[in-house]
Symmetry: C2
Subunit: 316 residues, 2 copies
């Protein structure tokens, strides 16, 4: 059995969108997958009543507190020990659920990932990743997209391992091509850190390094399946793409390619390199996004993503 | 009199596009502005003959050598002392021209800017900048877009001064709002360097600092006129925008907003913080881009951009 915990109180439109997303997910998940709604029992019942749903259909793990989107992540996580986020991580670490997903306070989710779950042995730092659509119809994984701002070359090297395994396990890519985001294709381009990361990556057999990639071909396709960068640059890239997508939508430009930038299809941002699957959703998550977040969590458990990442770190 | 030197041999389609661009520029420049074509006299004459132009219309400064786009910038600049780029910088430093523009080898142009012209006294490092279009119809200056990859907070602080003066002098913005590109709006976000740069900028009266800007609102407008970042991140942002523009064009999406991403309108990338106006054009520069590069150079001389930057550095 696969047990997915979802934060009922997480996101700008919680618990409504979470509940509607869970209902949608029911018709897509496997028969041996069980969803646990973690949050305020009373509020969940109230929403169910409003939508004419039988709250008996949901397995609820009660959590009396809620973390606001604006609360300070670390202190809120530590002080509200009965918040839906804290309860989720505790259930995960106690083995009562196999994965935890939330569209709530991102910082608190990261705090829980690192403080309650812990980093995989041998890994310097976990990271977060995202998929971006390519012109050739495929997707590329980009990581880190925001967890680590001051990044050492050895960290970038390990992100490449994490990304490569994710692409293989979750995106079905046989021998993922890994590129390093840089400001030129030559080995001596970029920051001192990027140059050293290039050197480490080009001497490895742990993954399929294809060299530096410049940002003007980021969406072109045909170059790489995994793009490695530090959390500052990755976050800027992702937000810039998001801003461009929003602008394109606002301007009324409709094109299938840009439709693929819609975050709802990706469900959320997996935290890679901690001891259990964690997915962080967009604050504005719709029911569709919640559904896809649940499906992503289910797939991570089914495909044993964390075990594979763990083994890779032990075999370094 | 304003004397603009332009590298006749610079760019993928030189000298054709340069000559056609100069002809176009003639009907836009002031009557006291003179254009000097720097390059191989014979090749220039040949192109003029091909297009049925009277080569006597052009003031040519002969340079017997040409720097290829693929040549190593520093060694090519140093060893080919009679290249059009080297001659251009020498004429600039000797005061025979007031500004120099080229769509040629970017690295060689930067080498010439720093080695032949020198950095302004008091400035840690020069930088390069670009204008990006905003949804509100205005443009925002972003800098550094590629000269300095490992950047200290004090360098970012000085880029803010350079950018602010450029926005005032060249873009006609009264009291330019300066933002720092970061991965959150709070002061404690981002790299150690970004946090320290924020601290320096928020304590200044040298420019109008408005705080951190996230990349998702980079094109929105209404927030800032100048966006400061290091050369690695700025280069990635610019190339990502360029890649997105190319993709949008390739997909057949037509919209006036995206039309404004066309580099041809901006002429080139000014080098800020050296002792004379230098503009580096896109390698694929069209005659329109060359014309706008010349007009930008003329404006920089007319508006005494370098003197203003120099004074600001002395008054720090």
């Amino acid at each position: 059995m696969i047990r997915i915990g979802i934060d009922a109180m997480g996101g700008d439109y919680a618990p409504e969108n979470v509940i509607l997303g869970v209902i949608d997910a029911y018709s897509h998940i496997g028969s041996d997958t069980k969803i646990f709604l973690i949050g305020d029992q009373e509020k969940i019942t109230e929403v169910c009543r409003h939508y004419g749903l039988d709250s008996g259909n949901f397995v609820v793990i009660h959590a009396s507190q809620t973390l606001g989107m604006g609360e300070h992540p670390v202190s809120a996580y530590l002080h509200k020990s009965d918040s839906s986020v804290s309860v989720g991580f505790n259930k995960l670490v106690e083995g009562e659920i196999d994965a935890f997903a939330s569209a709530g306070n991102t910082g608190a989710m990261l705090t829980g990932s690192v403080m309650t779950l812990k980093t995989l042995p041998g890994l310097l730092r976990p990271c977060i990743s995202a998929q971006i659509p390519l012109a050739d119809g495929k997707n590329m994984l980009i990581l880190d997209v925001g967890l680590n701002t001051d990044t050492k070359p050895a960290m970038l090297y390990q992100f490449a391992i994490l990304g490569s395994i994710y692409a293989k396990t979750m995106m079905g890519i046989e021998n993922p091509r890994v590129a390093l985001l840089n400001i030129g294709t030559e080995s001596k381009k970029g920051t001192v850190s990027a140059q050293e990361a290039y050197r480490l990556m080009s001497n490895t057999s742990e993954f399929n390094f294809v060299g530096n990639m410049e940002a003007n071909v980021m969406f072109s396709g045909g170059i790489a399946d995994v793009l490695v960068t530090d959390g500052f640059v990755g976050n800027v890239c992702l937000k810039q793409a998001e801003g461009m997508y929003e602008m394109i939508s606002r301007l009324g430009v409709r094109h299938p390619f840009f439709g693929r930038f819609n975050y709802e299809y990706y469900g959320g941002t997996p935290v890679l390199g901690v001891t259990a699957p964690v997915i962080i959703g967009h604050g504005a998550s719709t029911p569709l996004a919640i559904r896809n977040m649940i499906l992503e969590a289910e797939k991570a458990v089914k495909n044993q993503l964390v075990d594979k990442l763990k083994n890779a770190m032990l075999c370094q």
